[in-house]
């Protein structure tokens, strides 16, 4: 035989993941296959845990002021220093994770719900409904995400709920586009025709037969969008239109300190900035891996 024979079939198989059994086995296999995605997932899970257990993780109350420690440099007491009012920067960043992720996840969820409804209706009903809604979506999409969110919060006034709405609204177009195009191709599938032939209602067909088959691209899109919603929230808060006081928000923490203390107390700029970059980086890595995993067609 002239071709080298890999003697160890087991090694080849292990590489292909044949021995990955159970949840942890599968997870370990996927982590080895998509190391960057796994890193992203770890970063995201780390921040989520921080957010959920902020009370236990943070050494101090993020809102308690203490003039004695105003602008204190990083030390054993204040790991990341303290802000002008002497509030512990580390504790504020930990609590900020909660706000940041809550806003991002709710906004993505809200945007997905509306986007899916419009996309599904548009693709399934078609006709004038499709025409009208897709033009509305066109208009929405022609405006920059941030500018849209800015206008909305400016109109509604800054509050946690309004921030979520302001970030969710610009997500609707891209979600509805993806769902609509998926619906259009699914509508032609024989299993949908079979459902029609069995006398099922359009409603049932849309919910039971079309919608579940659009989930994979939806998850891919939602993960990919999570990073940008976090950024939008930070940007809005930076501009003073996002999450209002007293909630600690990374964006506002940056804006409060950027102008005045960047020279005197750079840790007030560095740490919130790092937190934002890290979480966005993590969600993007995860989003890319999700796309490779769930939607191989979109692989570039």
């Amino acid at each position: 035989m002239s071709v080298t024979v890999p003697l160890d079939h087991n090694a080849e198989l292990r590489r292909a993941g044949a021995f990955a059994h159970g949840f942890f086995g599968q997870a370990r296999f996927l982590a080895r296959r998509y190391p960057l995605g796994a890193a992203g997932a770890i970063i995201l899970i780390f921040f989520i845990l921080c957010g959920i257990f902020a009370e236990w993780v943070a050494p101090m109350d993020p809102l308690t002021t203490n003039a004695k420690y105003s602008l204190a440099a990083p030390s054993a007491r204040n790991w990341m220093g303290a802000d002008m009012m002497g509030r512990d920067e580390f504790s504020r960043i930990v609590h900020g994770a909660r706000i940041s992720l809550m806003v991002a996840i709710s906004a993505t969820g809200l945007g997905a719900i509306f986007g899916v409804s419009i996309g599904l209706a548009s693709g399934y009903i078609g006709g004038w409904f499709d025409l009208v809604f897709q033009r509305v979506v066109d208009v929405l999409q022609s405006l920059p995400l941030l500018v849209m969110a800015l206008v909305i919060t400016a109109a509604l006034g800054p509050s946690l709920e309004n921030t979520i709405i302001a970030i969710a609204l610009p997500l609707i177009p891209s979600v509805s586009r993806v769902i609509r195009s998926n619906t259009l191709s699914l509508r032609e599938m024989p299993f949908v025709e079979a459902a029609q032939a069995a006398g099922m209602s359009e409603w049932r067909i849309a919910i039971r037969h079309v919608l579940p088959n659009t989930l994979a691209p939806l998850i891919v899109l939602a993960t990919a969008q999570l990073g940008s919603t976090i950024l939008t929230e930070a940007s809005l808060s930076f501009l003073g239109l996002g999450v209002p006081e007293p909630h600690p928000s990374w964006g506002r923490m940056l804006s409060e300190s950027a102008a005045e203390y960047v020279r005197t107390a750079p840790w007030l700029v560095i740490f919130p900035g790092l937190a934002i970059s890290l979480i966005v980086f993590g969600t993007n890595l995860l989003g890319d891996a999700m796309r490779d995993l769930l939607d191989p067609r979109q692989r570039s």
């Binding site: 002239s2 198989l13 292909a16 044949a18």
Partner: protein
Amino acid sequence: MDQQVNTQDVLKVNGLTTYFFTRRGVVKAVDDVSFTVRAGETLAIVGESGCGKSITALSLMRLIPSPPGRTIAGTVMLDGTDLLQLSEPKMRQMRGNKISMIFQEPMTALNPLLTIGRQVAETLILHQNMSRQAAQARAVEMLKFVKIPEAEQRAREYPHQLSGGMRQRAMIAMALACNPRVLICDEPTTALDVTIQAQILELIVELQRNFGTAVILITHDLGVVAETAHRVIVMYAGRKVEEASAEELFHRPLHPYMNGLLGSIPRVGLTKRATASEHVALQEIPGIVPALNDLPIGCAFAPRCPNAGDKCRAAIPPFEEKLPGHFAACWHSDVGAKVPT
């Protein structure tokens, strides 16, 4: 037809073995397959989906996606050169030049952004160092060879402007442009209508006669095999189970799988019935093709075989010459072959 077959061996395949290493285990897609094709001969490889016939073809072309696929053993000698030993750039010079392939779906195999004439000419420029002008002229000539009407006009058209049959003709023109020694046709007519299928098969036979190309025809359609092949290999679950000349195989199938296949196809003119409402049931092969990652011990066909005994379930039967020029891998086939009724 046999007098056109000269005895020069063009392609000798020995012990070809291609495995896929996947999450579900080792998929033994092609396991120890050997055959020889002579100049001007048509060798058909038949079998059902998942029997390894297409992977055999892709292994010859060295087009197995890797990972997960790997050709782990064997030699593929084309005029004395082992294709499996060539470097990738050397292999690229062989593909489309000395060994060509046409596929089931010509639309996906043609570039939608280039004209038909341009695509045929590209192959010539690449492999034969022709000038663009000479290649274009030769391309039109090739399109005429494959009987595309108004070839000059068609050469300037794009794949989507042609019908399915015309596209397959264009593919054949492209594959034969460099006058290859071996042409592999992977289900060349499966996507086509019957009347067009007949045209394409006739074309392949005719071109082969003129060019002396060795043709490997991969198909699941026994009718196509019977009409075009000189010799036939039957594959089941990645292995060769029978090999014989077409006449011999169809009249005296030795392997119970081939026997079952011949009984299970409805044939025009052979369905006899007493009244209009009475159907003669087709012979069935019970069960399904085994998964290639979970093959039974012994003969892979044993679970579906009417004659299977303990020996069949214990050991893989050797592939041996049961009758002159007629090979089969079956523990029972020497008992006496049945002629299909």
